[in-house]
Amino acid sequence: MAEFVMPTLGSDMTEGTLVEWKKKVDDRVVKGEIIAEVDTEKAAIEIESFHTGVIEQLLVKPGERVPVGTVMAIIREEGTQTIPAVQAHASTPPSQTVSPKDRVSSPPHAPPPIAAPVIEPGRLRISPAARKLAGELGVDPALVQGTGSGGAITLDDIQHGAQAQRRQRSASPAFTTEAGDRQARMRQTIAAAMARSKREIPHYYLSTTIDMGRAMTWLKEENLKRPVTDRLLYGVLLIKAVALALRHVPELNALWKDNAAFQSPDIHVGVAISIRQGGLVAPAIHNADKRSLGELMSSFQDVVKRARAGTLRGSELSDPTITLTSLGLAHK
């Protein structure tokens, strides 16, 4: 059994409100699939499940406000369904009393039934080698169909699972949800977070002036070559520039977590996005240093759209390794 808990979607979040369950009891949920929508007061966030299985229980009702870490649902992980009794066992006759006479005519010793492996509920029927390979390839064995003896998952199955996973990752998921009206509370939350930040974190400020003339000229020329829908925003240049700069100064690509500095190997640039009717979120654009300007542009448009629709994902809000706030949107 796995527990689905109220996640923390930022250091300032202590509780959240369940807006809506995206799954019912007995629905199947796959790891990474949206299971619920949670209102953090900054935004309504779609929350992914960390487990694959079947929803056993939903413990929190929509509208309920619960602290971070509260168990909200129970997921029965895959592979825990009862395996049909193995035939050797089923056919074992009930014990009978045998008269001495019968005993003489019966075969001297019936061969003892061979103990067939019985998988306890909750355990996946998977070979040790397959389990090891799954770990190495990052495949969730619960998502894999077993083809071995008695439906056991074998090395081959994991190999196929890894291929399927790669295919799945290259196809982009689609999502739609509507945003709620939470403007006032969002303002309140931002104010609280900013105040706490100023209070608890030593601040220092550096500034420099950069002549963007060449960049702007380049951007103008580049955009003339592009179809209108593919044109680049000034802000995208800043995202890329920040990401590339971090490669040179990786110490800045760091977080203070659990009383220790944690330097991230990946560069996820959080971009501040203003939400209409007021409000602000800073979702992450993942691996910004490794992506082309065109790719960054479409990611940027995507998060802006979803930030305004209130359909950002939990990981996007908790992932940024640096945050960029840009008045560059004014250049739109």
Partner: protein, 325 residues
């Protein structure tokens, strides 16, 4: 390569042993005038004389004990016991004397004794002459247990065993005596430390010894026709067991079937299976399977005897089931 029978190979080995060292002598029931129950010592009485080819009374405990005494006295006795069933009468001499005296004398005495015997079923000689008790002997520390399956091993293992300072038990599968095989004439000696891979393949390991080797190879032929390439490992030496050759094979194929003519419960196959689990658990892509004898006294009627023993078809079936076919 020359074709000879397993029986001829054993006899050539005996002759070589007798020629190699004047202190080597052969004794057992009917080994002299009769030429051996399985004709392994035929002609040796004429060649080496009654001092060195000695017929004994029908008392296994006595003549195995006499062999222990002769070994203590500086001789190099080769004791032939007619079959594995009859050696049960000498078990006390083996377990309490032959295997222990080096240990209990603090290394002052050793017993360089060789005991050969026929083992196994498949010849319709019923329940008192068809046992496969190699696994019982492999249980005993202090002795070496050999299971020559090929004519080359039948020919060469005896001389290698004579180099050992401690008791060596050689189990010759009676079904093999009349069968011909290719003698590897280039191999003038064989080692008593390594298992042998008799056929290589990437898909599954068939691990066996003695008479079952040929059934495993036949099963491998059948499997090859359906595209399953089996590796066949001949253990050769049951004690000390060369588990590393087994594990190397299983780490490659990820699947193993152990074939052993002994009864399944407490079989030598059980020991091999346990050691595979201990040494290669995370390389296994399925449980280790065993093909052993059915747990009945080996029947006399041919169809029942065939049904009781490991057969190529049963090995193929075990492989299918392991591979989910």
């Amino acid at each position: 390569m020359a074709k000879i029978t397993y029986r001829e190979a054993v006899r050539a080995g005996l002759r070589e042993a007798l020629q190699s060292n004047p202190r080597v002598f052969l004794m057992g029931e009917d080994v002299g005038k009769y030429g051996g129950t399985y004709a392994c010592s035929k002609g040796l009485l004429d060649e080496f004389g009654p001092e060195r080819i000695r017929d004994t009374p029908l008392s296994e405990s006595t003549f195995v004990g006499a062999g222990i005494g002769a070994a203590l006295g500086g001789m190099r006795p080769i004791v032939e016991v007619m079959t594995v069933n009859f050696i049960l009468l000498a078990l006390d001499q083996i377990v309490n004397n032959a295997a222990t005296i080096r240990h209990m004398s603090g290394g002052q005495f050793s017993i360089p004794l060789i005991v050969r015997m026929a083992t196994g079923a498949g010849r319709q000689v019923a329940a008192q002459h068809s046992h496969s008790l190699e696994g019982w002997y492999a249980h005993i520390p202090g002795i070496t247990v050999l299971a020559p399956a090929t004519v080359t091993d039948a020919r060469r293992m005896l001389l290698a065993a004579l180099q050992e300072p401690d008791p060596v038990f050689i189990f010759e599968h009676a079904y093999l005596y009349p069968l011909e095989g290719e003698l590897d004439e280039s191999a003038l000696s064989v080692d008593l430390t390594h298992a042998a891979v008799r056929r290589t393949g990437p898909d599954i390991s068939l691990i066996t010894f003695g008479g079952s080797l040929w059934k495993a190879l036949e099963a491998a032929d059948q499997l090859a026709q359906e595209g399953i390439s089996a590796e066949v490992v001949d253990l050769r030496i049951l004690r000390p067991l060369d588990i590393s050759t087994v594990l190397t094979s299983v780490r490659k194929t990820h699947r193993a079937v152990v074939i052993d003519e002994g009864w399944r419960t407490g079989s030598f196959a059980a020991e091999v299976s346990a050691q595979i689990m201990e040494g290669a658990f995370y390389d296994l892509d399925g449980p280790v399977a065993r093909v052993c004898s059915v747990e009945v006294p080996i029947p006399y009627p041919k169809h029942l005897e065939d049904a009781a023993l490991p057969q190529p078809e049963k090995i193929v079936q075990a492989v299918h089931s392991l591979m989910g076919r």
